[in-house]
């Protein structure tokens, strides 16, 4: 049973990562920097609970703030460019963060072991959950409480005026600008919100894996982050969740019985999915169909 709890934890954390990219993608920007914010969140939260002995929730709060502030600061130079240049700029930022942690060592003596990040060897002994007697189920419930909170927040944002503004910028910058929207402010806000979510996700990630190192936060993780919302469709937050379940639950865990062939199918199925459903698995059309399916009786009674 613990295996499935573990899998559900992974799905939860990756959903947070995907949602952080979702915010930025709504404004039409492709950011491969989310893995960088995720890494910052992971290291900050880990250092706070291990070295400073903070409780988890305030540590996550600080990691969210730090990652959000970084995202905001990166947003200013990076969002001056768009399209391919932005992809490259954010890849470079993500890689720079990863390389920073590759060379970053800050350790304190605790008893007979040294704690803290140690360059290429990574950051071990983030043992907050076992030390405080959290079971796998507790951790899972905690993660999903956070995921539910973030998803509810984004769902509300989506339906509010702010969501309409984000989409307007994403669909057509020129049109949005001519209706008086400050597109730079909108993009940077989206980037900041994305950074905050990635920071929380990273902080949780550090605590359930107990060992983080720089290779975990490379370009591959960044690609996964944008893969979830693009594959799931940008029409609403559940697309991202569906794509995370599809990738982590089905493609990675579900196909394990296929052995070596699983990895081959992984890339192939992503290509196929994009060919068949270029606007994502759960696009606007699919949402409409689902709505008709569930609310058909009500509609008929209205008519």
């Amino acid at each position: 049973m613990d295996f499935y709890f573990g899998l559900i934890q992974i799905i939860g954390v990756h959903t947070l990562l995907g949602l952080s990219a979702y915010c930025v993608l709504l404004t039409g920007q492709v950011s491969l920097a989310q893995a960088g914010f995720f890494a910052i969140g992971a290291y900050v939260a880990g250092m706070l609970t291990v070295i400073a002995q903070w409780p988890l929730v305030p540590a996550l709060g600080v990691s969210a703030l730090v990652a959000g502030a970084t995202a905001c600061a990166v947003g200013f130079p990076a969002l001056r460019v768009k399209g391919l240049m932005l992809v490259v700029a954010t890849v470079a930022f993500g890689e720079a963060v990863r390389l920073f942690f590759f060379n970053f060592t800050y350790q304190v003596q605790a008893g007979n072991i040294r704690l803290g990040p140690h360059g290429g060897e990574g950051f071990r002994q983030i043992r907050y959950f076992p030390e405080n007697g959290w079971t796998t189920l507790d951790v899972m419930l905690f993660i999903w409480a956070v995921v539910a909170l973030v998803m509810a927040g984004l769902w509300w944002l989506n339906r509010s005026r702010a969501g309409a503004v984000l989409r307007a910028v994403g669909e057509d910058e020129l049109a949005a600008q001519s209706t008086g929207i400050n597109i730079t402010a909108v993009k940077i806000s989206a980037m900041t919100v994305g950074g905050v979510i990635a920071g929380i996700g990273g902080g949780i990630f550090a605590h359930y894996t107990t060992h983080i190192e720089h290779v975990q936060f490379g370009v591959v993780l960044a690609t996964f982050a944008i893969a979830y919302p693009i594959l799931g469709g940008l029409s609403n937050v559940f697309g991202t969740l569906l794509a995370v379940i599809f990738i982590q639950g089905f493609l990675i865990e579900g196909l394990r019985f296929m052995g070596d062939w699983r990895n081959l199918l992984f890339g192939g199925l992503i290509v196929l999915a994009m060919n068949v459903r270029p606007r994502g698995l759960l696009d606007a059309g699919a949402m409409l169909a689902l709505k008709r399916l569930f609310f058909s009786r009500k509609e008929r009674s209205d008519a």
């Binding site: 240049m85 470079a92 370009v219 693009i230 890339g267 290509v271 994009m274």
Partner: protein
């Protein structure tokens, strides 16, 4: 720093510049595809490495001198380039840049995995030409294999430039990259040009992949991600859409990479390249040779 260190530093930068020819070729490939399709093909470097692998596979089947490996890599690169277009671009609507971005990422993973699957993840030795030749130049030595790689890269670039600026195909390619609708009205088939660009960049990529293999002495699927990142950086530093820019940026990035590796060690090397890119994005977002604005 004494004189000996200085000589070593210059030597390592020179090696880097020679290897930078690979980055330059990859940068050209990214630039050309982006120019024609206005889409990013993230599977490009992986396809190049795949072509180099394919050339080894062909060479294992038939008896041929080692120089043929480059020819085979070019042919395989062209074929793979065409396939990439068919699989990741043909059936996806043009108005949806995110979908093609994702499909090329999927293809990148797929190509990597096909390589891992067919070689059981073991790096393969790649035939290096003239690796026993060392040309002494005063206190410096130039490695024969790197010189060969550099020379091959230069020949490729010259051929490519001639193709783009002296043939009808090149004219069509440049027309489509500037004004797709106007060029279609002039009777140029956009699909035709797109396919040809993919095959052409595939050939260039195949040669670049083979050059990487020859310069490093081996091939590994682990090369494809770093090469993708370096190729993209070269494209941006050189100026998007500028071929001379990509060439200069490729050589500069190759040289600086070894420069930083010499002075700051291998673990910090790439960090400074990223910072260089950021400096460019802030102070000169158009790259070394910015494209003239106002085409739309």
């Amino acid at each position: 720093m004494d004189l000996l260190d200085l000589i070593d530093a210059v030597q390592s930068v020179a090696d880097g510049v020679l290897f930078g020819a690979t980055y330059a070729l990859l940068g050209i490939g990214f630039t050309l595809i982006f120019g024609v399709m206005h889409k990013l093909n993230l599977s490009y470097a992986a396809a190049s490495i795949g072509a180099a692998y394919a050339s080894l596979l062909i060479l294992a089947g038939i008896e041929a001198p080692a120089i043929f490996v480059f020819l085979m890599a070019a042919v395989a690169g062209g074929v793979i380039g065409g396939l990439v277009y068919l699989i990741a671009f043909k059936f996806i609507p043009l108005a949806n840049p995110l979908a093609t971005l994702m499909s090329t990422v999927g293809l990148l993973l797929l190509i990597d995995e096909i390589i891992v699957h067919s070689t059981a993840g073991v790096p393969l030795n790649y035939p290096a030409l003239f690796s026993d030749v060392i040309i002494p130049m005063g206190p410096f030595n130039l490695r024969g294999d790197l010189i060969f790689v550099f020379a091959l890269g230069c020949v490729c670039m010259v051929v490519l430039l001639l193709l783009l600026y002296r043939t009808k195909l090149g004219l069509a390619t440049r027309a489509v990259s500037q004004q797709p609708i106007a060029s279609e009205l002039c009777g140029i088939s956009i699909t035709h040009v797109n396919v040809l660009t993919f095959v052409l960049t595939g050939v260039v990529g195949g040669i670049a992949g083979a050059m990487t293999g020859a310069a490093i002495g081996m091939l590994s699927p682990l090369l494809s991600l770093p090469l993708t990142v370096k190729g993209l950086i070269v494209t941006v530093i050189g100026g998007l859409g500028s071929i001379p820019g990509a060439i200069i940026a490729g050589l500069v990035v190759g040289g600086l990479e070894n420069f930083f590796q010499f002075f700051r060690g291998v673990s910090e090397r790439d960090l400074y390249i990223m910072l260089l890119l950021f400096a460019f994005l802030i102070f000169r977002p158009g790259g070394i040779f910015p494209t003239t604005a106002g085409r739309d």
